[in-house]
Assembly symmetry: C2
Homo-oligomer: 194 residues x 2
Amino acid sequence: MIQQIAPQTGVAFTLKKGERLKVIDLWGTQVSDMVLFNLHDTREKISSGKTMDFEESILISTGNYLWSNRSRKMMKLLDDTNGRNDFLLAPCSPETFQIMYNNPDYHPSCFENLHTNLKPYDILPDDIPTAFNIFMNVQFDDKGKLSVLPPLSKANDYVLFEAQMDLIVGLTACSAEDSNGGTFKPIGYEVLEG
Amino acid sequence: MIQQIAPQTGVAFTLKKGERLKVIDLWGTQVSDMVLFNLHDTREKISSGKTMDFEESILISTGNYLWSNRSRKMMKLLDDTNGRNDFLLAPCSPETFQIMYNNPDYHPSCFENLHTNLKPYDILPDDIPTAFNIFMNVQFDDKGKLSVLPPLSKANDYVLFEAQMDLIVGLTACSAEDSNGGTFKPIGYEVLEG
């Protein structure tokens, strides 16, 4: 059954080794930030630096693994119908909107939506790592200059993951204007038995 | 006074706000991995994801800042005579040599040299983030494919940092063959008063 994450919110849930997670861009042009923790020891978590090192790529898609800070595989990407994800940029946070959007007011953020939903698992704000940003379209040139462009994903594009260990998953419908082509949409997800 | 970090080892020390740190490639073609923690609360630490987000660049050099997981500036790069550093890849660890070098034997690593030297500050192995890899020459193509090439740094090339807060610094002379053109050399560093 497909669950919906409302616009600019998030969820957290457990996923057992061998189970699959399908993250679906229901309407298109919507990013979903995902963080992963070892269910049995939350000090082990997803690591962008370990993943890019072992996968030898900035871009992570079908066939690649997401690795932990302890150099272990957490997820395999079984399928990716859109093919563009980001693993460079930290989740949008209150400071993102203050510093980069020059907005002093309250603004929902993936950072807040991750740490508030992960609190029942004793995961604190400082524990939130750089997320795997599903459908996020961050372009880079040969000098390394980064540009956040609207996602290339169309309605019902999805990424299908397979858990390589027992996991806690934090997942959002991203809250940042620039990352989502200016509109906030829901994200769908479905847990499939192994 | 210039201190030397022996080949394949590391150090840790404190640096006060306003003090400057000069990291010197004494012989050339040698990488130095650097991690940073808030001296007064070590749960605040250097973040590759926050740095690339706020600096809008994969490549970090003169004029850029290194940011923390709490979206605060930790260091400013005042000068960089070589101009190529890496902030994508995690520090080499025992698993790097097992998985990527197919070497089952003990091998020194930046990860070990960081966490053993940072232990007196109550920083544990799981606390080590992706390091800022000074002089490391990681090339990427337009598809995001990564290649670790010998550093472009010549003897006495340096990066000069200015602390933006009171810091604990972990610093290595990197232990990985591919990152250092096949030979292990010392790294120099000097703390200059603000």
